[in-house]
Symmetry: D2
Subunit: 339 residues, 4 copies
């Protein structure tokens, strides 16, 4: 089998996990990763013995790597020249510059949610609109919150039909270790509708969505509450059953101790998952209920790793590895060890 060759640009919070994800896909080959400076993430890669080849996106910094004894395998263009598709997880705005290189070398690219919509041909979510991404040159993934939210709403929508959703996103204000964007003793409220609701409607145009975005002093996982209006009456057992069937959704019980974003993170660490990551969103079983005929529930989105499965789906779609969504998702899940 010829493997699809993949490169990762930007080895930060998301890029590291995309690289790990690609390395786990038996039908993909991680050619290497590209970054600009010897960040802590790069230093950790070096301390691990450089399991991935490193390419430099900023030539000026070569000496910094040399001094640290970190081997560099070439420039980012060297990397691009060897791949079929680039996963771009650089800081917002950089992807636009990189796109010119991707065009120059005629390689496909999957951008992350921080980029503007117009960077890509398709705004993509593996579960919700896989078909739209097939054979396209440039995909843009949904952001972490939207990825998790759509998984849950799409799951209900496919079974029951969803007319509208109103969500409250209780957002972790900083990633672990971030020193520049946290809030202390403060819940920051943004205007309605939040961008996640707007993004959901771009991916699922037949659903009306709106909602709240509140930033709070946490670092491990967004909590989202959802009020979803189904097209017809639904029963609790049906909802629960659909969620439980979804491979990328965990249904967890508060009574068992899964009572917070932090409990889920701790659980992922105790599972021995690399980086303490979890690919699945978790829905708290005791929060599934009804407001009138509206379905309500709360979910946890592990912001660091949640986009990995849908990004792998994106590679499968744009490179036409699988023409059928279900085939693609089954493979992504299998290689990531989901369910």
């Amino acid at each position: 089998m010829t493997k699809v060759k993949v490169g990762v640009a930007g080895y930060g919070v998301i890029g590291q996990r995309l690289a790990d994800g690609v390395a786990l896909q038996n039908d993909m080959e991680l050619v290497g990763i590209a970054d600009v400076a010897p960040t802590l993430s790069i230093r950790a890669l070096a301390e691990r013995g450089m399991p991935y080849r490193l390419f430099l996106a900023a030539q000026d910094n070569t000496s910094k790597f040399t001094e640290l004894g970190i081997p560099v395998s070439g420039t980012i263009e060297d990397l691009i020249g060897q791949v079929d598709v680039m996963l771009d997880a650089t800081s917002a705005g950089i992807g636009k510059k990189n796109k010119k290189l991707y065009e120059k070398y005629g390689v496909r690219a999957v951008f992350q949610g921080g980029e503007k919509h117009d960077i890509a041909d398709v705004f993509f979510h593996g579960c919700a609109n896989y078909e739209k991404g097939i054979g396209k040159d440039y995909l843009k993934l949904t952001s972490c919150n939207t990825t998790g939210l759509i998984r849950a709403v799409d799951c209900l929508d496919r079974s029951f039909g969803i007319e509208q959703v109103a969500v409250t996103i209780i957002r972790r204000s900083a990633d672990p270790g971030d020193t520049h964007r946290g809030v202390v003793d403060l819940a920051l409220v943004e205007p309605v509708p939040n961008h996640q609701a707007k993004d959901l409607m771009l991916i699922m145009p037949h659903v009306k969505a709106t909602g709240f975005l509140v930033h709070v002093p946490t670092t491990h996982g967004h909590i989202i509450t959802v009020v979803a209006t189904p097209k017809s009456d639904v029963k609790l057992d049906q909802v629960l059953s659909e969620f439980k069937k979804h491979p990328r959704i965990r249904v967890v019980k508060i009574a068992d101790g899964f009572n917070s974003n932090a409990a889920l993170f701790r659980y992922a660490r105790n599972l021995g998952n690399p980086r303490g990551d979890m690919y699945e969103i978790s829905i708290f079983e005791e929060t599934i209920g009804f407001s009138g005929k509206d379905i309500i529930f709360a979910l946890n989105v592990p912001q660091e790793a949640v986009v990995v499965p849908e990004t792998m789906d994106g590679v499968r779609a744009c490179t036409k590895m699988q023409a059928v969504k279900d085939d693609a998702l089954v493979l992504t899940n299998k290689y990531l060890g989901i369910e």
Copy 2:
């Protein structure tokens, strides 16, 4: 005019503010406050020169007060013997014991939300069911979150009729200075429905309510998001207009800087309000919108002082100071300096 004589049992976070509130009511007389030990709150009272007389609820501790030079005016029974109504803001469970004393002396009492429902004849909210409290011996107030939530929902209900609400309460997990119930880097999720929704239905039995309760690492103000289903179609201007007319509701703009619970607390401090308190809930104007025909909005509940107005209303109701709700609320507001 004969003033209604009022005592306060429990001089903690809430009790202090009830005492201040009573002291501001021209038609009430604060006879004194009762507590058990020289807490920081009592020490602050002493440093201020004892504007309120102190009665002791635990005789054994008399010497502790004497040593500190804090004058004691008698026992809690001495206090009860001099009042028409007691405001009981003691720790949950103590009110039940105190009730026997209130019965012994034949005085009315208004309990706070931590007590069990059966302690009182009426579960009371000044705005929503003033009439039910008139002339009753024992009232129990709604808790801070429920008080704020009901103000907003009752406001809409009186104008438009509300069928159901689904709320997400983003709760401050500890009061400022609390060392025993905070959460760190964690959003704690409780089973649905939250007790605030259940309490709302007790006060407003014609409305169906449910929702989420999430505890977060903040100390200054709960944030609540609401999805409210009106009985008929409503327009944004109408909603905004009703909120703006309500004396106990502030409509604030995120664009002006009122973007968080902490910003509102800071504003209250900068207003020079005693203790940095605010009696009003605040609704963030840019969060008022619609999900389908459902009205959505987010509000801030200043947990320390929000119950003061409705508790003053409670005194007016149970002692029959005013037989008409509007008369009562106007007076409460006027003396508290609201609007």
Copy 3:
């Protein structure tokens, strides 16, 4: 008595408190305050009925104030033209621009700690080097942490002689309501020595100082631990006695409940202090002890208001209101209600 005329530039966290402080000094007149935009602080001033006159530091914004019905009394130059001394509490860097205006109008100025040292003739602390500020045109105050630290070290130094100090500053990472500089679940460590130690040595050049700066997720008060080497042996009672005699130092007991920065803030609110402020630093009595012959203790610095007394001292010094330090400090303390 002719009062010294004072203006305040920058009505933010510090500026508001300086204005309040000046307004309390019977021998000073607050001519007005200057700011650039209708911030929440200015809105609070307006809601309070404009107790202070407002001058505009940015002409372009006049219409914004007019629309809000906030009266403007002129430009910042109009204000400067009417005063003897300006207290500059603008954002770091603005003071340098403003200085040209102060020079143009020949008025003295006291800058806050955010400015660079070369902005002023003297780096000033009321307790530690009052004499150096007498009659000088431009003073720069120490920052909040340094102000509090020097109060305590200077207190010991005057009594016992201090050779060296090693401090650990556990710094609140954001002011209440700040959304742009907090840290979450993180203690951020800075290189040794911290700037507070360096600043201490500028004010007290006969003392060697060094230490650590650690930023933590709190908003109410820095905690500083000190290891101070006295020139000769000292006893605990002597240390305690000196701290207790100092008007701007509170000695508090953990056993009484004063066990945190937040407890002190809560106490200040319960005292009814405007904005919940406290001018005094607090030393935790049970932390006073010895490491060998070194004196050790921990203190709390209420970062918002701590600089007010020393800034008032600065006005007295530079305008030559008092030629003797003790006379000046007694007056500042008296008018601020300290002790």
Copy 4:
């Protein structure tokens, strides 16, 4: 080679890591772990396929495990009957009860720092007093903070001789996921001296120690600042060199991005370390300096895993696997992958 047989009682935060640690020691055999209920940690073990055998410490709960399909291999007494030494990581107080079982079966035990000193024959730290533990029946390990602190102080003491230390412990107030002991927006100060200083003097009786304990809203790693008085003059290079030579100490640079407890945790996760753990303490290079002739520095203690190496040392000592400290520590380090 006959392996030493080890059991672990209490599979919580520490117990899990001790079990992992034992499993990595080639000359030890992890017979199994014991706990009382299907906690999240046990559920994670089950989801991992039960790499360790589970024994039940509470018979009544057998059905709970059966229902979940979690295999139970017997009672805690069955476990004790098969081992040479038990590592007791149960909640404080339980160890005392368990000790009777250990005595009944004549097995050695190593208790964790939460137990009272009199539970053991020796208060033990692998680096500092290995010799004292040799052949003893019951050891008690130092707690996480003390373990990390002693590593650093012992390192200096062996090279330079340390007379006294004054420390400031900035303690994480809760472990990740804990919901019952966090503090919010608060730095809680404890009386001097802290128990860690007292414990240090028990392990290193020739050193005088005192210091501060401040609890802050973080979950990942204690930060400790140290002022250590050497017996004779020392130079920075010497200090740095000793720290760098110590296998259980990492010297990290703030300039490289290692600027906080959270950065170190993130780095450990990115290294792919199981549970995101780190066994080493980290000393921030730019914080190493002098206050007079006193050595100062700041370190990070990863509270979850730091005790693992010294506990493994404890097994080696009490079972007389190695009679020479250096031999023991080299093996512990090798099997844990340190250095």
